[in-house]
């Protein structure tokens, strides 16, 4: 078995002297460096160590790769299918002239798919604090918090209102995107830590919060957002108008609502797309998604849009819903065309209806998927105008001592990976509040590294796209058919070679450099610079260079790590061996015995 070395990731560096020189830093400048120079890891709300787990795939250590994910995001198999992939947007390989971002998400799935079936996980545990924590809700944030609290040494109970744990992962995402068995595997591996999971118990209804809070040292509400937003237009309550969330939850519970042949979906998020694609699987023939804004501004992944279109779904932009018409049942939707306006401070585009441009679309049914919000819950503590409990997004505390909030319930709808990160942070806070100790901390780990064994030619490997079930007709036969087939081990290997390994830091030793500039001649892009001055930010991290082409003014030849694609060509051509390579990564270290 091939495990993440606890010394590398969890434990302090007591034994590190055996191998290459390893140092840890808590310097703000180093965190700034990571933020700029290892963009994928920084972009991940859970700070997943992307380069490291991709490297493990290259080394064919799938279990190891899975573990590197699991220690921070807990659901690699799940996220490898449905993550919103903020990392890929920042991937350096996706910069305009460098091609497509690395398929980071699907490599993660490959780690799940290809690891040995019985691969056990290492999860160093702290000794028990003899305190009990109750978590309400078993969605991604609740499960993540439960996992962390359990490993830190708390006795954790989860109360789940529905029949199955998983929350939105189980009920909000159709099986053609996320098979239940994948989810179950990952939930099981969390619950197995010694967590008590009680399903079918709705807190606040089946059992009062007073009762829970008196039984437990702390209570964490992670019940997510289960109330569908309404369009607030006439006709919304007609038969044949479905709430998107309810529809996917029905489908997840094995029901098959009849939608007719011509279906319109109103909404622009993942749920809208899930509904549209589910509609096809329920027998609809003509499905159109009506969005208010523009297709290019959709927040769903482009694979999702492409697959939807491939299945025959149409997208119609700039359509503002005016009302749903019909005598008993929805028969049509009235829209008005929109003109685009400026992008507002919230990042959303303003849209102005074009007066008189109304048009009617005939439909058999309408699915409204325009967002969700949290459900009022009968718990003590301060509430907002809608009667929803409010909490502090930094401390996760409600106004009621011992009552905490996390995930979408606290923040409003977010992504799965954000929920997981939120759950873990809430757990850290609860542990600290209950014990006065800190158990883990993020540090920058630096290790002397040999030159990368990457070949420059790997940078030209095309992105290995996810194979899907074809022809499209065979996807629609059974709604449980997972559309994405997963990368083969060969494709995952090829894709892993594409990663630049931005966690390698290249640096020229100015004292050894002879300014020959062979490195510049062989650089793949303008990553090595003739520099007159280096600017530092307030933390002391490099914040830009003043370059010069005047040879008299050159003070140093510098590798700009924010431009560097880690090809190693400079190291190979340097005649005086003045370029060093250091592996740098953000790691979460366990603090022995819990530091104050």
């Amino acid at each position: 078995m091939d495990h993440v070395n606890p010394n590398d990731v969890w434990a302090p560096g007591a034994n590190d002297r055996r191998g290459p020189l390893v140092t840890y830093s808590r310097d703000a400048a180093d965190f700034d460096y990571m933020r700029i120079n290892v963009p994928c890891q920084s972009a991940c709300p859970a700070l997943t160590n992307v380069p490291a787990y991709i490297r493990s795939i290259y080394e064919k250590r799938y279990g190891h790769s899975y573990e590197l994910n699991r220690i921070v995001n807990l659901f690699p198999g799940t996220l490898g299918r449905i993550c919103s992939r903020p990392c890929e947007d920042r991937c350096r390989h996706g910069e305009p002239e460098l091609g497509e971002p690395v398929n980071i998400c699907h490599i993660k799935r490959a780690a799940y798919d290809l690891k040995e079936p019985g691969h056990p996980f290492m999860a160093p545990m702290f000794s028990s604090h003899h305190k009990r924590v109750c978590i309400v809700g078993s969605g991604p944030s609740g499960l993540a918090a439960a996992h962390d609290l359990s490993t830190i040494g708390f006795d954790v109970t989860i109360l789940e209102a529905l029949d199955e744990p998983g929350g939105m992962l189980r009920y909000g995402i159709p099986e053609f995107r996320l098979p239940h068995k994948v989810l179950k595997y990952e939930i099981d591996s969390i619950v197995r830590m010694g967590i008590t999971l009680k399903t079918g118990i709705r807190a606040g209804t089946d059992i009062s919060f007073r009762e829970i809070m008196s039984d437990y040292d702390a209570t964490l509400i992670a019940t997510g957002c289960y109330v569908s937003r309404a369009l607030n237009v006439p006709g919304e309550n007609l038969d044949g108008v479905f709430s998107g969330l309810e529809l996917v939850m029905d489908i997840a519970s094995n029901k098959s609502p009849n939608l007719g042949k011509k279906v319109a979906v109103i909404g622009a998020g993942f749920t809208a797309f899930d509904c549209a694609r589910s509609a096809l699987r329920l027998g609809a023939e003509d499905v159109t998604i009506f969005i208010r804004g523009l297709e290019e501004e959709l927040r769903v992944t482009k694979e999702e849009i492409h697959d939807a279109k491939k299945e025959g779904i149409k997208i119609k932009a700039l359509s503002l819903t005016q009302g749903i018409v019909g005598s008993n049942r929805a028969e049509g939707i009235e829209f008005v065309r929109a003109r685009t306006g400026e992008i507002g401070s919230n990042g959303r585009r303003k849209l102005y209806p074009i007066e008189g441009s109304n048009f009617l679309v005939e439909v058999d049914s309408v699915i409204v998927a325009v967002g969700q919000s949290a459900q009022p819950i009968a718990a003590p503590g301060d509430k907002n105008d809608s009667g929803i409990l409010i909490g502090n997004s930094d401390t996760f505390q409600s106004s009621e001592p011992g009552l905490y909030l996390t995930g979408d319930f606290l923040t409003g709808p977010s992504t799965v990976i954000e929920s997981i990160a939120s759950g873990r942070k809430a757990a850290e806070r609860i542990a600290h509040d209950l014990t006065g100790k800190r158990f883990r901390e993020w540090v920058v780990r630096m290790e002397e590294a040999a030159i990368t064994d990457r070949h420059r030619s790997w940078d030209f490997i095309p992105r290995q796209e996810m194979p899907t079930v074809t022809p499209v007709s065979s996807r629609l036969v059974d709604r449980r058919v997972e559309v994405e087939l997963g990368l083969s081990s060969e494709a995952a290997f090829e894709e892993s070679k594409r990663c630049y390994l931005c966690n390698l830091h290249y640096e020229i030793d100015v004292n050894k450099c002879i300014f020959c500039r062979y490195c510049i001649d062989n650089a793949p892009r303008d990553c090595i610079k003739l520099v007159e001055k280096i600017n530092l930010n307030e933390n002391g991290a490099i914040d830009g260079f003043i370059e010069t082409t005047n040879w008299q003014k050159v003070n140093a030849v510098v590798i700009d790590n924010s431009r560097c694609i880690r090809c190693g060509e400079c190291v190979r051509v340097c005649p005086v061996d003045c370029i060093s390579v250091t592996k740098v990564e953000l790691v979460e270290k366990n603090l022995l015995a819990g530091r104050q």
Binding site: R456, F460, R517, R525, D526, T549, W551, E569
Partner: protein, 591 residues
């Protein structure tokens, strides 16, 4: 047979492999049976920020000059190549790296300065090389691959050239280079399938003796070796250094030696010493070094010691333009030095002549017992031509030493006043032929003698000797046998190629012009030159110098002023410029 006359330029920054790429084009096209004339220009600094440009003129007929219009520009660095854009033909072709390392502004872009009609072939040179060979170092070869594919050149010609060039560096390096070339070739075939231009199609390759690519400097080196050079003394200077480099390799196996001296004065001193002792010896330098040598050269004149001095001219005065071409040492070569110190000066005009004249210079030096100066220039030294492998006949290699008659033993006049001025020369140590060799004016026996009569007589003797050398010197060569023309153009050195092409072009345009090549600068064939001039209403002498050195020397032979065309741009004179001048003079109706 289609007439092919294509000029290809490769332009890049020092370090881009520009010169290597240009060299490979020359070799490949030579292998393909074309006539090739190549010339590189590069920055003065060894490893600087400067521009490198190679020019290759490739033709199906003999070539004697460079053209100023380029058909194909291969850019390895667009910022540098912008300066070459004005020289492109209207429908020229440009190969450039479509994925350079960094963004460029419009002010730095090559594509931004190309005229409508110029065809662009953007290829990711570095990426192709990297993909194929794992390193961007072969980007110049990817560029060549694209060039070969688009222009319809047999890629095997290049593959063979690459093999020859990189074989010695081991199979891995060779393989990387071949792969980089092939990557460019394949890319172009695939991406430009509808834009291929058979620039070089339709040539019947001439079967016959295989030609070799030779630079002027290599030809000089080979000439010296073939002539039996024993000792070379020199001090490095651009553009003469390659001669020393060549000889350092070629001479020792033939029993000769190359000695690097502390400076040019020492070099010429050592040459005179070796020659005095009877060994064939030479030195090569450029203007600044030549200036240092002049005092000792006149010593050779006075003491009548053979010596071969090669002056590879460059831009002057002083350090001047060390990597640019110019013909401004003629006056220094003919007149430089104290006193009435006439010496022989000859100037080849092409690579073959570089060989031939070097061989000849040793004969002349020995027969006339005086320093012989061979004048070349940067362009001639560094340009490459594909020529038939040069060799010399027995007659050309014959030693023309004039040795004393044994009857004179015991009464040997080393500086005997003979009708042709040539005195029999004995070598030091020959029994009964002892003599004094000195820079002081001397009697026929060599003893110092400052008497007025003696100085008058001996000066006349030495000058008579130089005049008599005319019989052994190459005569001026007239290229068109017209009885009378409007304009005669006279050229020397590397400029003559342009003169020849310009007059050919002018004649094609119906102008009555003729051309004369002068290779014997001093003494010169006044009678023949005058005869030519007399057939011409006007005379034009284009030279790469400001003062008109040759015009100053021979202009008086014409019955009116000769016209001059003096350019000191550092580059060879393009034939088109001379053609324009010819047209201007003839149409201007200058009386």
């Amino acid at each position: 047979m289609a007439k092919v006359d294509i000029t290809v330029e490769v332009c890049g920054m020092a370090g881009d492999g520009t010169i290597a790429a240009g060299g490979m084009i020359n070799e490949a096209m030579s292998l393909g049976g074309y006539y090739v004339l190549g010339f590189d220009s590069y920055p003065a600094e060894i490893r600087g920020f400067g521009r490198c440009v190679t020019h290759s003129r490739i033709g199906s007929e003999e070539i004697s000059a460079l053209q100023d219009k380029t058909h194909v520009l291969i850019s390895l660095n667009d910022v540098q190549s912008r300066s070459r854009a004005p020289f492109l033909q209207e429908n020229g072709m440009v190969f450039f790296d479509s994925n350079p390392a960094s963004y460029v502004t419009e002010e730095e872009s090559l594509a931004a300065v190309l005229k409508t009609g110029v065809k662009l072939y953007g290829m990711p040179f570095s990426d192709l090389a990297t993909q194929a060979a794992g390193s961007p170092r072969g980007r110049n070869l990817s560029a060549l691959g694209g060039f070969a594919a688009v222009c319809g050149i047999d890629p095997d010609l290049f593959r063979q050239v690459i093999s020859n060039k990189f074989e010695s560096k081991g199979p891995r390096v060779l393989d990387m280079n071949l792969k980089s070339f092939d990557a460019g070739h394949e890319y172009a075939l695939e991406n430009f399938s509808h834009r291929l231009v058979g620039l070089f199609k339709g040539l019947e390759v001439e079967k016959g003796e295989k030609k070799v690519m030779l630079s002027g400097n290599s030809a000089i080196g080979k000439g010296a070796v073939d002539a039996g050079l024993k000792l070379y003394f020199g001090y490095p200077i651009t553009p003469a250094t390659p001669i020393m480099e060549y000889l350092a390799k070629a001479l020792p196996p033939r029993g000769g030696q190359v000695v690097q001296m502390e400076d040019e004065i020492a070099s010429i001193g050592a040459v005179l010493g070796a020659s005095y002792a009877g060994a064939r010896s030479m030195t090569a330098t450029s203007g600044p070094g030549f200036a240092l040598m002049t005092e000792l050269i006149t010593h050779g004149v006075m003491a009548e010691i053979p010596a071969v001095i090669l002056d590879a001219q460059r831009g002057g005065p002083s350090t001047g333009l060390p990597t640019k071409t110019e013909q401004s040492d003629l006056q220094a070569a003919v007149f430089g030095g104290p006193g009435d110190s006439a010496r022989i000066v000859i100037a080849p005009t092409n690579v073959s002549e570089c060989y031939k004249f070097t061989v000849k210079s040793f004969q002349l030096a020995e027969r006339y017992q005086t320093p012989v100066i061979v004048l070349t220039d940067f362009f001639l030294d560094n340009r490459v031509e594909n020529v038939h492998p040069p060799h010399s006949t027995e007659q050309e290699l014959q030693r023309l030493s004039v040795t004393p008659d044994s009857s004179k033993q015991g009464d040997y006049k080393r500086y005997e006043d003979t009708p042709d001025g040539i005195s029999p020369r004995a070598l030091p140590g020959m029994k009964g032929f002892n003599f004094v060799a000195t820079g002081l004016e001397h009697s026929q026996y060599g003893a110092p003698d400052y008497s007025p009569e003696n100085h008058q007589k001996m000066s006349a003797k030495r000058h008579r000797k130089i005049e008599s050398a005319l019989r052994d010197l190459f005569k001026p060569e007239e290229f068109f046998d017209d009885s009378e023309v409007d304009l005669g153009v006279i050229g020397w050195g590397s400029t003559f190629g342009s003169v020849l092409e310009a007059t050919q072009e002018a004649r094609r345009k119906g102008l009555k012009v003729s051309a004369l090549k002068i290779t014997s600068i001093y003494p010169y064939h006044a009678r023949e030159i005058r005869a030519f001039m007399n057939k011409c209403k006007m005379i034009l002498i284009p030279e790469l110098n400001f003062e008109g050195h040759l015009a100053n020397l021979i202009g008086h032979l014409h019955n009116s002023d000769v016209f001059r065309l003096n350019l000191v741009t550092g580059s060879p004179i393009p034939p088109s410029v001379i053609v324009s001048e010819i047209e201007r003079l003839i149409s201007g109706g200058v009386k």
